[in-house]
């Protein structure tokens, strides 16, 4: 076929189409990234880029490699399933340069209640406390070892459980009077408080230890004739012993 046989109007059109196709191919070459479409309709190199991000959390295995003393303690405790970084925060820096970076540790009262503060939405049986009521003002670590959080012994201070009485007594004249001055507390009451009760006073002689006319106690303490005062009533029928109202 001769070139002259092709209709004249088709020639410029062919040239334009050819140029357009060349321009398209060139544009694709320049604009579409090299790895685009290697595995699908995306840039294959992006996978590598995402995978190359820095790590912040080292993982429990890395912690366990060095801190075997704590692993031993934690292994026996309720916190055995916890990763160290739950409380200590991201520690990959520390794993790579142990001397330069030290991971933090929450020591106040703010952190533990994130898990152990009472919340009715939590699963039943998960150990929870009321942060406002549970030994207010004390750091959790005073009594609990976070690596082995079960109490090693029952709390020695009565206020751990009898907080409302303790806070009433705190503002009364009896603030310095130890609970055991009036209550006899059997040893088993600490471990089994509902089965073994602390004993309460039964007669006037308990108050008489300090308040009787002839009592061997500091003079500042108000005195009363313990035999006749109040007739047939017992002392705590009128006076609340944890907040006695009589003034000096």
């Amino acid at each position: 076929m001769k070139l002259s046989r092709i209709p004249q109007q088709v020639i410029p059109l062919t040239i334009i189409f050819a140029l357009a196709i060349v321009a398209l191919v060139a544009a694709r070459q320049m604009l579409v990234p090299e790895s685009f479409g290697k595995y699908g309709h995306y840039r294959a190199d992006a996978v590598e880029e995402v995978a190359s991000h820095d790590i912040s959390y080292a993982g429990i295995q890395v912690c366990n490699d060095c801190h075997d003393d704590i692993v031993e303690v934690k292994q026996e405790s309720y916190h055995r399933g916890l990763s160290c970084e739950v409380c200590h925060g991201p520690a990959n820096n520390h794993a790579e340069a142990p001397d330069e970076y030290t991971p933090g540790a929450p020591r106040g009262r703010g952190y533990c209640p994130l898990c152990h503060g009472y919340n009715p939405s939590r699963p039943v049986g998960f150990p929870q406390i009321l942060p406002k009521m549970h030994n207010p003002g004390k750091a959790c670590m005073t009594c609990h070892n976070p690596h082995a959080p079960t109490l090693p012994h029952a709390p020695e201070e009565c206020s751990a459980c009898h907080r409302e009485i303790a806070s009433t007594k705190m503002v009364s004249h009896h603030t310095t009077v130890d609970c055991r001055t009036c209550h006899t507390v059997p040893k088993d009451h600490w471990s089994d408080p509902r089965a073994v009760h602390a004993e309460k006073p039964t007669d006037r002689s308990t108050c008489g230890q300090c308040h009787a006319t002839g009592a061997d106690s500091p003079k500042i303490i108000p005195r009363i004739d313990i035999e006749t005062h109040g007739g047939r009533y017992l002392c705590w029928d009128c006076h609340y012993p944890h907040h006695p109202e009589a003034t000096l």
Binding site: P33, F36, Y39, G40, H41, Y42, R43, A46, V47, E49, V50, A51, S52, H53, D54, I55, S56, Y57, G59, I60, G81, L82, S83, E85, V86, G89, P90, P113, L114, C115, G117, N119, P120, S121, R122, P123, F126
Partner: protein
Amino acid sequence: MKQDKPCIPRREFLQTSAKKIPGLVVAAAALSTGKTLLAEENSEYNPEDHNYAMGVDIHKCIGCGRCADACKKENKVPLEPEFFRTWVERYVIPVEGEARVDSPNGGIDGFPEIKEKDEILRSFFVPKLCNHCDNAPCVQVCPVGATFKSRDGVVLVDESYCVGCRYCIQACPYGARYLHPTKHVADKCTFCYHRITKGMLPACVEVCPTHTRVFGEEGHRSSPLMRFLRFKDVNVLKAGLNTKPKVYYAGANGEVR
């Protein structure tokens, strides 16, 4: 010689033997070496061998929000309470009426007291994240191919290719995406792709104190996830949308959306 039973002709026997014996030898060799099922050796990482997925046991979640906190720290997610790759929702189901859902700062700072006037039937926590759908609506709508499903079953975002048009954010039925305020590109959970390809666990799974989250691979029987799927009665979120999510929830009933 007379034959009673039909037997395989010698020619056919030799042909089948020649085809099958090399295959058996290879299979035996593979079994004896003990195939690594999780990505333990980074150098040997082959995406085709993996299909990552996650299990979430709602009965175990205590709503401490450590997952959301760890996620922000690991992935440098902006700290403002609008941006999350994973977050914890609290569902409050009243005796009558609609379930109410809240998630103050993703649960990172804990949850305030429930201020509900109606009688409450029950309440629980649901950790949420990108579901890495097999049939992902976000991937379908991306006009430039900046979001995609990788060969190991993780939906990723190509930061340098995203134009920030927000179509994917609109398309995601789980609200798992956000627009990064400084990079101006869509961002979302990657299952901590930079960690899992090195054989580590995602940060949220690493720090979850009650093992609510289980990470593993579908199709690998020894994976913790497959154990989770065998033992639990699992659901996926919004199954009716046919997105084929790969985050499996145990204990999620009709209220969880």
